[in-house]
């Protein structure tokens, strides 16, 4: 479904080229559960961002259903993020002035859905993560685990094919972390959503169907 061919990303630092990704080849199949592991600065996030269409490689191809999204315009790649990808962040990145429901509605705004439909769909997503009684809560009225659930609900809003989670349990205690991973696993198993999880928690990596270890921008 998503295939990286020779994806390379580099930064200039003091006139020296540093490879964040060095000719990476990776195939993500439908229904897959990939854990990307590796030390910090190894290029895990860059890899996840390129898969999710937030970033494009300097060299190489990112084929999504045989279309190279590294070479398409902003509208197309934005539409790809909107419709096919759901992002989950370590620090949740919830809008502090929006309610849980409004936060979940954000991706739906950009897909041009009417307000009533947005509310309906956002409520469904919150229900799916077990937060139907926290709909009107502001993020600061929610616990860490609940916030991450709102974040997952937001990622689910547009029925994505892939969820990319960057350290989803990094800001949670181990008990809440396990709950979140269970929730993600359930989505993978029941709804067939592809999961790409960046983690350095071996416990999380162990749950994955496939572990991709990355170091110095290369897959080992």
């Amino acid at each position: 479904m998503i295939e990286l061919k020779g994806a390379t990303k580099m930064y200039e630092l003091g006139g020296e080229k540093i490879y964040a990704l060095d000719h990476v080849d990776l195939k993500v199949d439908k229904g897959d559960f990939i854990a990307i592991v590796g030390p910090s600065g190894s290029g895990k996030s860059t890899l996840a961002n390129i898969i999710g269409g937030l970033d494009v490689p300097d060299e190489g191809e990112v084929l999504v259903d045989d279309v190279n999204i590294a070479k398409v315009n902003d509208a197309t790649i934005s539409n790809y993020r909107n419709k096919k990808i759901g992002f989950i962040f370590q620090s949740f990145n919830l809008q502090p002035t929006y309610t849980a429901l409004e936060n979940v509605m954000i991706p739906l705004i950009f897909s041009g859905i009417s307000l009533s439909q947005r509310k309906k769909r956002a409520f469904e997503c919150l229900k799916a993560v077990g937060l139907e009684d926290r709909v009107s809560h502001m993020p600061n009225q929610l616990s860490g685990g609940q916030r991450q659930r709102v974040c997952i609900a937001r990622a689910l809003a547009n029925n994505p094919e892939v969820i990319i989670a960057d350290e989803p349990t990094g800001n949670l205690d181990s008990k809440k972390g396990i709950e979140i991973v269970e929730l993600l696993k359930e989505l993978n198993q029941k709804s067939g959503i592809t999961l790409v999880v960046i983690t350095h928690d071996p416990g999380v990596a162990r749950q994955a169907k496939r572990v991709v270890e990355i170091k110095d921008g290369r897959i080992r």
């Binding site: 970033d55 902003d74 991706p107 041009g112």
Partner: protein, 495 residues
């Protein structure tokens, strides 16, 4: 993304920083307020001037003046300037009047003398003096129509009759009962030294031995001439201090009587005496030379100087059948060597003056709006900085660069929009308050054309809102483009 969602999101984001949003909107409100008030004052002043002209029927009038170049400083209905020292100009007399009357397009014309110049006037029995202002014309000419609130119009044959104007009524009469003035006398006065008119008392005959002190005594004191009020005119929209008399009486008043020494008789007498003396000399019979014997032959005659004849009229006002003929009539007058003043000249002058005033006022308004625009830019730059992470989340959730750009531009445009709306609302309220104050203490403000100011034409309302919204949009465009250019990965990582 739906259009309505842009507005919803922009509103939501603006209410997030209420204090900052309010302050920014206040700045734009002040800017638009000054612009609105200045423009509407300009419009209403111009409108009331035009209304005045219309009330005067000025759009059908051409004024003939002596100086072909002086079209700027002359009143349309006024006496013009016939100062005899103006040698370069052509005299306006009855021949001119006849010529103007004959011009194609002219329905009638009337001569206006540049006088009579009384110094002051007052109502008989009232010591309060005011400056005298008289307009003399031939009442039989159908040129301008005075609206009377009491009494009758002047007849051509009327002497020492006057129709007083609105100012006179408010000063000496009761505006609610203008007929109260009818039949009363107006006393016009001038210095005796200025000479005696061909009306009323004759100047005292100077004695034979009149010396400087006698003449000085004659020049002291003032001369009063009375006229009966036969009508009260409502001329408040034009020249409210003007009062009206007939041309015939003005002619009398403008004719000056002076005593001049006629020494022909005395000279004859002296010659005869000399001849007699010579005859006596030749006969050798000497006698005393008695020259004073001839003094009885010295006579004084009263001489009339007709100022109309020597100086001509101050101006001629011609009425034209059709407004479109104004220019052709004016051209014919110019060909005769006179100056022609039309309402168009005056409108041009007013428009020019208004344009200048307008430019100055717009610059002031523009500066305040410019400052407001900087306020918007500042607010939007702050907003983009605060929301970098949020921009990253929106991009991750599928917002295109264009959506981000439009979101911020919309916010800035909304700031401008509300500034314009509040500016209009506040100026509307301000004008209402001023109007109430004016009707309460109206007299102190004189003739200010305040009545028109509140009536904002619809195009002003629309263009002010469009203008401030546009200023908001343009101010927000820079920060919005910056926000849209942010790399989503960096934005998400931003602390």
């Amino acid at each position: 993304m739906r259009f309505f969602d842009y507005i919803r999101l922009a509103l939501k984001n603006l209410t997030r920083q209420k204090a900052r949003t309010t302050l920014t909107i206040i700045a734009i409100t002040v800017g638009s307020l000054s612009l609105i008030l200045m423009i509407s004052i300009l419009i209403s002043v111009r409108q009331s001037l035009m209304d005045t002209f219309k009330a005067m029927g000025a759009f059908n009038l051409v004024t003939v003046v002596r100086d072909p170049n002086s079209i700027d400083n002359t009143n349309l209905i006024g006496s013009g300037n016939n100062s005899p020292t103006d040698d370069n100009t052509k005299k306006i007399d009855d021949t001119t009047l006849a010529a103007v009357k004959k011009m194609p397009g002219v329905s009638d014309a009337v001569a206006i003398p540049a006088g009579p110049w009384f110094k002051t006037m007052r109502l008989d029995g009232n010591d309060k003096k005011t400056w005298s202002s008289l307009l003399a014309s031939d009442p039989s000419a159908d040129v301008f129509d005075l609206i009377l609130v009491a009494g009758r119009k002047l007849n051509s044959t009327d002497m020492d009759k006057v129709v007083v104007g609105s100012d006179f009524l408010t000063k000496y009469g009761d505006p609610s009962n203008p007929s109260g003035l009818l039949g009363k006398k107006v006393l016009f006065s001038s210095d005796k030294g200025a000479g005696y008119p061909d009306w009323g008392d004759l100047p005292p005959k100077p004695p034979f031995n009149a010396d400087k002190s006698w003449w000085d005594s004659q020049n002291q004191g003032s001369l009063e001439i009375s006229a009966e009020i036969v009508g009260v005119a409502n001329n408040s929209s034009m020249d409210s201090q003007q009062n009206y008399i007939t041309l015939g009486w003005a002619h009398k008043l403008m004719t000056q009587l002076t005593w001049q020494e006629d020494d022909n008789g005395m000279k004859e007498c002296q010659q005869q005496q000399q001849q007699q003396q010579q005859a006596v000399k030749m006969s050798g019979n000497y006698s005393n030379n008695n020259s004073s014997a001839c003094d009885s032959f010295r006579t004084m005659t009263l001489v009339k100087t007709d100022n109309f004849l020597t100086n001509g009229y101050g101006s001629i006002i011609a009425k034209v059948y059709d407004t479109s003929k104004i220019q052709s009539v004016a051209d014919q007058i110019t060909k005769l060597g006179y100056g022609a003043v039309t309402a168009q000249n005056m409108i041009d002058n007013i428009n020019n003056a208004m344009l200048m005033v307008g430019i100055v006022l717009s610059v002031i308004g523009g500066i305040s709006l410019f400052v407001a625009a900087i306020g918007i830019i500042n607010t939007m730059v702050m907003a983009t900085f605060e929301r970098i992470r949020e921009i990253g989340v929106m991009r991750a959730c599928g917002a295109t660069r264009a959506i981000i750009r439009r979101l911020f531009t919309f916010e800035a445009a909304l700031l401008g929009f509300w500034g314009g709306v509040f500016g209009l609302v506040i100026s509307f309220i301000l004008v209402r308050v001023v109007k109430i104050l004016v009707t309460k203490y109206g007299a102190s403000l004189g003739n200010l054309p305040i009545s028109n100011i509140g009536n904002f034409p619809w195009w002003l309302v629309v263009s002010v809102i469009v203008f401030t919204t546009l200023i908001g949009m343009l101010s927000g465009l820079g920060p919005a483009i910056r926000a849209a250019r942010l790399n989503p990965v960096d934005a998400l990582r931003y602390e």
